[in-house]
């Protein structure tokens, strides 16, 4: 029956691996078009399962974002057996096709508001496009009325300053940064007390379950932040609007507000995998209306300038001078809290 449907329907949808099931008979079917979404995330030869059945093939993806995941041991073993470098295995079929067939780069994005779109365009797509256009309007007016620093589309909060700087701390195989967690909680508390909280709640829809996304670069940071947020009494109205996850779990998702916790703040300026461009690209390009980057400026201010976050920091810093209403660098180690009484 399934085979019958595959052979007779106008539109057949499935995952790359799922379509390979023998009983579907994909290999014996001929489609006018095969369209593969997120094709840059397909592992080696996975694309072949689907494209073997198409007269014409359209691959949609972005090889500047996260590549497919390979187990380290598998990668090592495959490279050894094939006698090629690990790097050449990591280059995706999509990227090869894109480069040899001179693929087309779309020049308009509809997810991010202009300041966020410009940041992503400048830092990650400058080689291919003069500028990535933004095909959507400005954020709703109430965003501008939010308390500082929420009233600015792109903000970098410097977590590497002040008396309570703790910097990164090793935790298991990763790192945590308590100072960044406190900063994020302070920011969220400001939002929870804002008179515009109602608007934020109204942004929640069936398809957009979470209005605020918090992306952390390390799992340990995600777990600690999740715990701290759970303990916050003020967080009641925001709790169901927030999703916390690591960058690797975030590709393909988007939220009106994104807070990015960079975590790394080491004396010797070691960035770890923050040097990875696709990872940074994905984490920044999830934001639609507001992007708050929480990270230690000193990590990318005078060092690591040529690395992805170095470029991001430089761009935000320059724009903060000429486009003050769109970009800001906040040089404090916390947001102010209440006095007692």
């Amino acid at each position: 029956m399934t085979n019958f449907l595959v052979k007779t329907r106008q539109l057949v949808c499935g995952t790359l691996v799922g379509l390979g099931q023998k009983q579907l008979g994909i290999a014996e079917t001929n489609f006018d078009w095969v369209i593969v979404d997120e094709a840059a995330r397909a592992q080696a030869s996975e694309l072949m399962i689907a494209i073997q059945s198409g007269k014409r093939v359209l691959l949609v993806g972005d090889h500047r974002q996260l590549p497919p995941f390979y187990d380290k041991n598998h990668l090592k073993s495959a490279a050894k057996r094939l006698g090629i470098s690990k790097r050449s295995i990591q280059v995706t079929d999509f990227q090869r096709l894109f480069e040899t067939a001179k693929g087309v780069t779309l020049d308009t994005q509809y997810r991010m508001c202009e300041p966020i779109g410009d940041l992503v365009s400048h830092c990650f797509y400058a080689n291919e496009l003069t500028k990535l256009k933004t095909g959507r309007g400005c954020p709703p007016d109430w965003y501008s009325a939010l308390p500082h620093p929420w009233n600015t589309p792109v903000v970098w909060i410097d977590s590497g300053q002040g008396e309570s700087v703790t910097g990164e701390e090793p935790s298991g195989t990763g790192f945590v940064n308590h100072h960044e967690i406190n900063l994020i909680l302070d920011c969220l508390r400001l939002l929870s007390q804002s008179p515009y909280l109602e608007h934020i709640c109204e942004s929640q829809t069936e398809s957009q379950k979470y209005v605020i996304g918090i992306i952390t670069m390390y799992r340990a940071q995600r777990d600690l932040l999740d715990q701290q947020l759970s303990r916050a009494e003020w967080a009641g109205p925001l709790r169901c609007l927030i999703k916390i996850d690591t960058v690797d779990s975030y590709q393909g998702q988007e939220n009106p507000i994104i807070i990015l916790s960079l975590v790394r703040d080491s004396i010797d300026k070691q960035q770890g995998f923050l040097v990875n461009e696709p990872r940074i690209n994905v984490s920044l390009s999830r934001a639609q209306e507001r992007l708050i980057i929480v990270g230690a400026c000193r990590m990318w201010q005078n060092a690591n300038n040529e690395d992805p976050l170095g470029k991001v920091f430089k761009f935000v810093k320059e724009q903060a001078i000429t486009k003050k209403s769109d970009y800001k660098i906040v040089d404090t180690d916390s947001l102010h809290g209440e006095k007692n009484g």
């Binding site: 500082h148 620093p149 300053q161 002040g162 008396e163 309570s164 406190n182 508390r189 929870s192 007390q193 999740d226 715990q227 947020l229 759970s230 303990r231 916050a232 009494e233 003020w234 967080a235 009641g236 709790r239 903060a320 800001k328 660098i329 906040v330 040089d331 404090t332 180690d333 916390s334 947001l335 102010h336 809290g337 209440e338 006095k339 007692n340 009484g341």
Partner: protein, 520 residues
Amino acid sequence: MDNLNIDLDPRQETRRTANVISLMLPARMYEFECSWTTEQPLPAMEEFSCRLLLMLGGIHPNELQNYFGLNNQEREVLLNSLFEKRLAVINTDGSIKPSSLLQAKSVNGTNLVPSLTVFEERQEKAQFDLLSLQLLLKNNYSGTKWGLPEIEADSALMKASQDQICEAFSRQYRAHLENTRASLHEAQKTRLYKIGQCQQQHTLQVPIDMVIELEPIRDHEVRIIRDVSQKVGEVRKFSLSNELEAKIADYLGKLKVSDEGMSIEKFCELFGDEVLARYVSENRFDLSAWLLDRDRKKTGYGNQNTRALLGPVYLKNNRIEIERWLKSFLAGSEDKKVGRIYWLPADVPLWAASGSDLTEFIAKIDDVLKKSDNSHEGLVTLFPTENNDDNFNHRKKSFSQRLPHGVALYNASSLDRVELMVFQGVFAIAQYHLQPNKTSGITIPIGFMTSDPDRMDRIEKVLKDRLKNVSNYNVMWSRDKKKLDDLLDFEYLQIAKTNHNHQQPQKSLPLITYRNKANL
């Protein structure tokens, strides 16, 4: 660059315990019929036989017999056991070799000899909270839990299906094992194989103690650290899940603290607290600066007769200090006796919300008092009450099992954030409940205890002033069925001794038993 109006000051961070609050979590007991598999080591001789088989690849039964020095019967028993456990197989030439099972299990090296997997069916009882379905430990709570604040159960989880509960148990069975098995080793070697059946049993309330710590992070700002965990033995802690923590946080967030009554500024003025007054500006108290100065020993009152007090009186350190002062007073002479002890509460939602610490405070103070005066009635709590007061029964329910005596005083001044405790003729305590975070019902009492005659006089004066309009009174409850004359010194309190058989509100008081929590 923009600034967020924070004055940064490179001061040392310090953290202090400022309160311990007990709460009751709604829970239900469930009984599960579980199948477990437990890995147990093989008997030594079988284990060594396996090692030999793996090492040599094969061995004749007689060689095995000689190796262990067995007689024929013992050899046969050993061989049969190895065959029954499918660890060895016999060759056509009569020798034995490792079975495929033994080879598979020792694939990571001959040192890893297989263990014996024992299958066991047994009934397990486990309690889950009715807020997030987290497994709660059966702990021996040391304090009195009656009347502690209760968090309302989630109505959907009250009707949780068997599948939901089985899923929750299978997700958390490791914690159950760690809490119920004799050793951690045994718990680690045991695995849940199957849940046959799950039966819903009675609902109950599980008390937890919540430690509140304060950490000054800069001028004017203080971070509140809340640790809710159940203790497992002396060392290990069983942390609550984030979901349950969030439910507790939401409960605390909904508690309202009234701003009515005396301000902190007025408190300092009225009680002559020149130390706290230094930290008050525009009617706000800079708790952060006070904590930092306290760490530098700069919050003293200049002599030993008065000392600062952070947190409720029953907090361990405060209780020890109060005990010490009492003992020191009584040590002077055998004839010395402590007068009555009055406690005037504060009107904050979590006042005296303590199980273990409050119980210990009452007991320890009683111990000290009874050593010099066996008939001493102990602590008397005074509750200003109005006619037809809805709070009357609520207060009685909340405190009658945790405080020895409660007296209702009609037409006394309303309670506010000020809390007083007077040890008549010995020393007195005045505290003000700060609310460090406006979005939380948690308050932190701060103030001083004093035996300085002038300061004591001020505290006593405020106490008497608040009671000056009292027209009627009655005993709400009394541990030893004491009478009003035993509990109140009318002359000292300057209360007119009339109408002292005031009718109590007629609302029926529900009998507090754990059994009737089942109707949660």
